[in-house]
């Protein structure tokens, strides 16, 4: 065996530069969040108290959370059967869907919201004026590529033809094949897609703000306008949510590459 080479000095340098660039802003935000609201003196946890006692914090974070759950549920309901069917019967359609999944890249949230506000203007108020209607419709579109690519990878990893034939020859109908045979096998992929969606929806500002809904990111922006130090506390909380979602993602999808959300 060849002797193990030690780490190259230039590698250390670049990794240190990278680490500094990413960690310093987080550290600064943390130090900021410990400052006293009026005097700016260090160190107090009062800002976290302010946030946690603010009823609109809980209200908005709950809205965002419900939105994510709803988006995840709808995305999975729509996509699991679709992807299953495409893999089983119409493999020729796969590139077409893969191409469709690239479209949100060309139509980012800022363009999407212009179009959506117009398209849904005529719909009934229970849909148009409710975050749980309008925003979810937008978020399902945003989440589509991430959920799709997760599921696609999941389905590619299992032998769905054999599984389906086995289930059918044992007398299972389509619903029970899907629910009791396929679903448990793609659970990791579905969970991975769900965590990505969670991270996206919990951080989505553009569409929510421009269609005048109050969600968690919109709340952060409002706090930032009048309470400087409290805002850093919320920012860190938001970072923790993204972090938690990504770590869970890694946990369920061991070895799969981490993908990138659309919160920008």
């Amino acid at each position: 065996m060849r002797p193990r080479r030690s780490i190259a000095p230039s590698a250390v340098l670049w990794l240190a530069v990278g680490a500094a660039y990413f960690l310093i802003p987080l550290l600064a935000t943390f130090l900021f969040s410990l400052r006293h609201d009026q005097t700016g003196a260090c160190c107090t946890l009062a800002n976290y108290g302010t946030i946690l006692h603010d009823p609109s914090f809980w209200k908005n974070i709950k809205t965002s959370f419900i939105l994510s759950l709803e988006t995840i549920a709808i995305s999975l309901l729509l996509l699991v059967p679709t992807v299953y069917w495409v893999h089983l019967k119409l493999p020729r359609l796969r590139p077409v869907i893969g191409f469709l999944a690239l479209i949100p890249f060309v139509v980012p949230p800022i363009i999407l919201v212009v179009g959506l506000l117009d398209v849904y203007r005529g719909t009934p108020p229970w849909f148009y004026a409710q975050p749980y209607g309008f925003l979810v419709a937008a978020y399902v579109i945003l989440a589509f590529p991430y959920v799709y690519f997760s599921l696609d990878a999941g389905f590619r990893a299992i032998d769905i033809h054999t599984l389906t034939e086995a289930a059918q020859s044992l007398g299972a109908g389509w619903p029970s094949t899907l629910l009791r045979v396929i679903l448990p096998n793609i659970k990791a992929a579905a969970l991975a897609g769900s965590f990505l969606t969670l991270a996206i929806v919990m951080g989505e500002f553009t569409i929510a703000s421009l269609s005048a809904f109050h969600t968690f990111p919109v709340y952060i922006q409002q706090v930032q306008q009048d309470k400087l130090y409290a805002a850093s506390a919320v920012s860190l909380l938001s970072f923790a949510i993204t972090w938690a979602a990504m770590v869970s993602l890694l946990f369920v999808g061991r070895g799969r590459a981490v993908q990138v959300g659309a919160a920008r």
Binding site: R4, R5, A8, A11, L13, W14, L15, V17, G18, Y21, F22, P25, L27, A28, T29, L31, F32, L100, P104, F105, V106, V107, P108, P109, I110, I111, V113, V114, G115, L117, D118, V119, F144, A199, G203, E204, F205, T206, S209, L210, P217, I220, Q221, Q224, A231, V234, S235, L236, S238, F239, T242, M246, V247, L250, V258, Q259, V260, G261, A263, R264
Partner: protein, 263 residues
């Protein structure tokens, strides 16, 4: 997905009464919209190139031989988080770091006597330069995520073959490494360009509209601050759509080319 895009396209060519017109598109080539497109494109180019270069160097440092294996795992996870950590909280993190009373700004001023906002350096977080610095926070990690697998594709044998034939490190990169990675590098940079071009929340949180960018302008029109022509927002969106469409036309073939060497 296609419907809103179509709606934007159709709306971009409508006048206030619903008739067909090129007037909105023509507006795009006048001020301040032309400047907004210039700013957006400039920021995207700068952050794509700088982010691409730094991301590549960091990714290479993590993947290359000699670096402990765990570094890569940590870097990938962290990049996944950082690339998703954008928008308002990111803007705020940088205000706390490099803003006028930011931690780093204060530290440099009080401890080292360097005034970032003073004469000579004249840095300001709330300008184009500031936006670029902040965008790099999600551009670099994105580059790391995209390029690391491509760097993996550089086999060790190639490097060994090159050096046993007497090539220097520079010659290896000049004649082997870079040509093989070129399509991946280019497609990653194109991706970064699009990523930064369509960012809205971060710039909004940072400057509250102080820097004139296309997404910020669209936001202005939509939130009703300017009410003269609803179709102008659609025209601006259509303009972005065209730019991003061109980006995709470059990206897709490059992507195919770059998958040639991947394992």
């Amino acid at each position: 997905m296609l419907i809103p895009a179509g709606e934007v396209t159709v709306g971009a060519f409508k006048d206030a009464n619903g008739g067909f017109t090129f007037a909105n598109i023509e507006q795009l080539f006048r001020q301040p919209h032309l400047q907004a497109f210039r700013n957006s494109i400039e920021i995207s180019l700068v952050t794509a190139l700088v982010g691409g270069l730094l991301g590549f160097l960091i990714a290479y440092a993590a993947v290359r031989e000699g670096t402990p294996r765990w570094v890569r795992g940590v870097l990938t996870t962290f990049s996944g988080v950082a690339a998703n950590f954008a928008g308002i909280p990111l803007a705020f993190a940088f205000i706390a770091t490099l803003g006028t009373i930011g931690i780093v700004t204060q530290f440099l001023r009080d401890q080292l006597g360097i005034d970032l906002y003073g004469r000579g350096i004249d840095f300001n977080l709330f300008t184009k330069t500031g936006v670029e610095v902040v965008y790099l926070y999600f551009q670099i990690p994105l580059m790391i995520l995209v390029i690391a697998p491509a760097i993996d594709g550089l086999r060790r044998e190639w490097r060994e073959a090159a050096s046993s034939l007497g090539a220097s490190s520079w010659q290896y990169w000049r004649y082997v490494g870079v040509p093989i990675l070129a399509p991946s590098l280019l497609s990653a940079i194109v991706l970064l360009f699009g990523n930064s071009f369509s960012a809205y929340a971060t710039a909004y949180g940072l400057t509250a509209g102080g820097v004139n960018l296309v997404p910020i302008e669209i936001g202005y029109f939509l939130s009703g601050n300017v009410l003269d022509n609803p179709h102008l927002a659609q025209a601006l969106a259509f303009g972005m759509f065209v730019v991003l469409g061109v980006v995709m036309l470059i990206y897709v073939p490059l992507q195919r080319l770059s998958s040639r060497w991947s394992r």
